[in-house]
Subunit: 549 residues, 2 copies
């Protein structure tokens, strides 16, 4: 018997495509546990992230604001001190807000120093950890390159865990969880995709996904009865594409669906799109032999997540947490996997910018929509106001900060009037080889997507725009950006982008309501503008200016 | 013999129109001291403020950023914690940055509390005082209304000064400096403009402008040899329009130049313009009897400022400060004074949005331009990068924060290639009666100006745009917004506005240079994307992933 949501479990996968779940229609990948969540909740079919790259997408999700508004436009660009995050909204309402896993947060160390904030203080840690209490922070990529020992700020607890379990060395994350045994008993790094289908040198239970599931359960167990919001944030199925047994060979090349691409896309493409096609990862994933080797493992990693969802939801049911917790399952962006001759993410085809989004609301008022799909245009920035509403806050009163909208009405099967007509996403490619190849300066290396239900615009600063007819060309294979027949649609979306660019996003210290309440009140504090004669305004306003005895 | 600028004296008047100085062409108002500064410096003929209202204009000037970027869009909207201001740029370069007078800064108390910043700490005071050391803060308007005793945060030192000089009472700012003797020996408040030409009840030397001049001199005297930037910020000629003898009747109604307006402007005007015409101050200033009474005093207050500039510059010369100090003389916006059937400021005709800007650079490299005018489009946000350059910093390295450009090249008579083609200003009228009258919500109550040297666009969210042909209609009397003959110009400026709205303004934690330097470096920290085979990349990148012995 479902109750009202007291807690929030915000599950995020990394680089999980929207269409690699059976409930979203994948023909060969069965994800029964995630599907079961969808059967009890609402499955969104048009959920867009605010940027198809980890860091920027997540900073939008955690702040409820567009990338252009918060400015952390690429991986490793610090989120500036002062940007409010989930915890800033939920904590004052009595909701503990914690992290297990990845945020991709880079702290604004310079900003903290300028404002005298000690990074080790409670506030400093929150500023550094994107507003979360870092129950366990692990960004999941622990590189070992000539310029530095690793990627995340600290040696991950996961490495210590592996050491304790007998996996030796400084970086067992790589040497065991993300490497296999190669030719002649050599170490076959997962960073080389040719090893993808070899089994990782780790027992399944010690691999990253089950480990993080257990850490999430640890948190829930310790949290007790006080309300909480847990961000359980998995690194997988993000590369390195390598999986432990049995997931490494659970799928075969025959299970790989065909790449969504056409030769026409390579003939005279948009210059920025062409430059992205030239990236190494795009060239690699354009090879069918690569796709046949890598995608089965990508599928295996997703299957492992689904199995872990079974573990997680089972534990929650057993411990009475399932029916008083709002559960969100989503991803930070997709993965091209060779679609459109591209690899990784970074561009705006649905494979990259659209994500799965399933929300289970235990509240009985959600019964009307249980098991349904919602086709409205939703954005990742809608989660923060949704969570605020679940915690008992009023998202409308925060509309001067939160740019998304609460999804609660949609979760209840309501049809809010004037739901957003466009979804917007952004991409800053100043850090990519494409910007150098095109000779585009960082400040101009920016792309914008504006999509409604039928059309998608890709606006590139300094270049012509691309346009896709989603209704008649759902695979987005034909760029209509220069087609005179589509000029009207192009203009309509360009106009929407212009209005979006002119929105108010930084007036974060005054709400709509405060302005409405303050309008015209200056007179009552003695500021009298345009008064010719004392009789022009009520005598009351002059009282302070009468001679005092 | 001029030397190099070591200090910066940044003089700002409040509500001083660009054309009410003799060096800018006023036929009856002689301002020889300001003119003399112009004769030694550069006089800018197209200097625009970023918003024609005190608070927003100043926050842009002090941050070097557009209003849409910093968000403090109206008087009393706090500048958010984290926005960098002049002092944040100049202080690390060894330049003391202090305030005498007005900033209109409202502290972000809520933001400071969220970040644990004590408002009484040194950093807290800087955050609260817009980055300035408040040598003397006085916003110059001290209201006494039924809802509160006054406007500024603290009782001004000026009131204590007046008390000490024998002007009694709680608020001698009003009762003496801004009031006269009325009928039957009554107190005639300066807030009622019919009293404008009566002499204020204060000796000239005790009125606000000479007082602030002396306080500026106090600062310079105490500052000694270390470099400083002093913002000497006068409240006058801002209303209340009232002046002490002899300035109250130095000018006559016959000295008042005709209002720039036409009956055609009132026939079928743009709806937002019409709503602004309906404001009380506009109706009042549309009366010729009001203009004849008020404008002579407005001129007198300017004449007093000019006389005080003589005192100030004289002291600086005597004390060897004049020739090593960059001196800026400007205003935060203009005053309609009945032009275009409007009063106060708040809209985008030149009377409101264009300001005088005179800069004297003692450096010998400035000799080439001495006494010249500069017709380039400059913006108030150019001052912060100019000051940074004077202090020895590199504005280009701060272009991810500072949206203006250093004026030093223009001060040296250089012709920088690709100077800005458009000036942009903004106005948020959510706090004005017009927004209520039009039924426009605060988030939509916004106006944008885009001007080049020949045309000016006024874009109003939710309404059609206005357009002025500055070349053939320099008085801006004919709105060409609906004229098909001007459609091309309209479209061109609308496009410029769109590009402006899409600019990157919040990526303040990563500079252009940092991005250029970081591009492609992730591989050297072990993040290897799209690698199929170990031979695809240099062996060096694999070192961290080789088996360790």
């Amino acid at each position: 018997m479902p109750g009202k949501a007291k807690n929030i479990l915000f599950i995020m996968c990394d680089q999980l495509r929207w269409d690699y779940l059976s409930c979203y229609g994948h023909p060969h990948l069965e994800t029964p546990n995630i599907d079961a969540l969808a059967a009890r909740g609402v499955r969104f079919t048009r959920a867009y992230v605010q940027s198809p790259i980890c860091g920027a997408s997540r900073m939008s999700t955690y702040t409820g604001r567009y990338v252009q508004s918060h400015g952390a436009a690429w991986n490793g660009f610090p989120l500036k001190v002062g940007e409010m995050t989930l915890g800033d909204y939920l904590r004052p309402l009595g909701m503990r807000t914690a992290l297990v896993g990845k945020t991709h947060m880079e702290a604004d160390v310079e900003g903290m120093q300028r404002l005298g904030i000690d990074p080790q203080s409670i506030i400093g840690v929150r500023v550094s950890e994107c507003g979360f209490e870092p129950y366990e922070r692990d960004d999941g990529l622990h590189g070992m390159g000539p310029d530095g020992p690793r990627y995340s700020p600290r040696r991950p607890r996961y490495n210590s865990y592996l050491n304790d379990k007998g996996y030796a060395g400084e970086n067992p994350w790589h040497d065991f969880a993300n490497a296999a045994v190669g030719e002649g008993n050599s170490l076959a790094s997962g960073w080389a995709m040719r090893h993808a289908r070899k089994p990782a040198r780790v027992a399944e239970e010690d691999s990253e996904t089950p480990y993080m599931t257990r850490r999430g359960i640890d948190f829930m167990r310790e949290a007790g009865d006080a309300p909480w919001c847990l961000h359980l944030s998995y690194i997988k199925p993000h590369w390195p594409y390598i999986a432990p047994k049995p997931y490494n060979d659970m799928y075969e090349p025959g299970d790989v669906i065909a790449a969504v691409r056409s030769e026409a896309e390579r003939r005279d493409p948009h210059p920025v799109y062409r430059a992205f096609m030239d990236h190494r990862v795009s060239r690699t994933f354009s090879r069918d032999d690569v796709r046949r080797e890598v995608i089965p493992v990508y599928m295996g990693l997703i299957k492992q997540i689904d199995d872990q969802m079974g573990v997680l939801f089972g534990w929650m049911r057993e411990h009475g947490v399932f029916d008083n917790t709002l559960i969100v399952f989503t991803s930070d962006h997709g993965d091209y996997l060779g679609d459109h001759w591209l690899g990784d993410k970074d561009f705006f085809h649905d494979a990259s910018v659209k994500v799965p989004l399933i929300i289970y609301d235990p509240s009985s008022v959600g019964d009307a929509a249980r098991g349904s799909t919602c086709d409205e245009l939703v954005e990742a920035i809608d989660l923060a106001p949704t969570f605020l509403a679940v915690a008992g806050g009023d998202p409308a009163a925060q509309s001067h900060r939160l740019e998304g909208r609460s999804l609660l009405p949609l979760l209840r099967g309501e049809k809010p009037e004037a739901w957003r007509p466009f979804a917007v996403s952004e991409y800053d490619y100043g850090m990519m080889p494409a910007s150098a190849a095109l000779g585009v300066r960082p400040r101009d290396a920016r792309l914008f997507m504006v999509a409604d239900k039928n059309w998608k615009l890709v606006h590139a600063i300094g270049f012509r725009s691309m346009l896709f007819d989603l209704k008649n060309d759902p695979d987005e294979l034909r760029d209509r950006g220069t087609d005179p027949a589509c000029a009207g649609e192009l203009e309509r979306l360009e106009h929407a982008l212009k209005q979006w660019g002119l929105r108010v996003s930084q007036r974060t210290t005054r709400s709509e309501q405060q302005i409405d309440n303050a309008r015209g009140k200056a007179e009552r504090r003695g500021i009298l503008i345009g008064v010719w004669d004392e009789t022009d305004i009520p005598a009351e306003l002059w009282k302070g200016y009468l001679p005092r005895t």
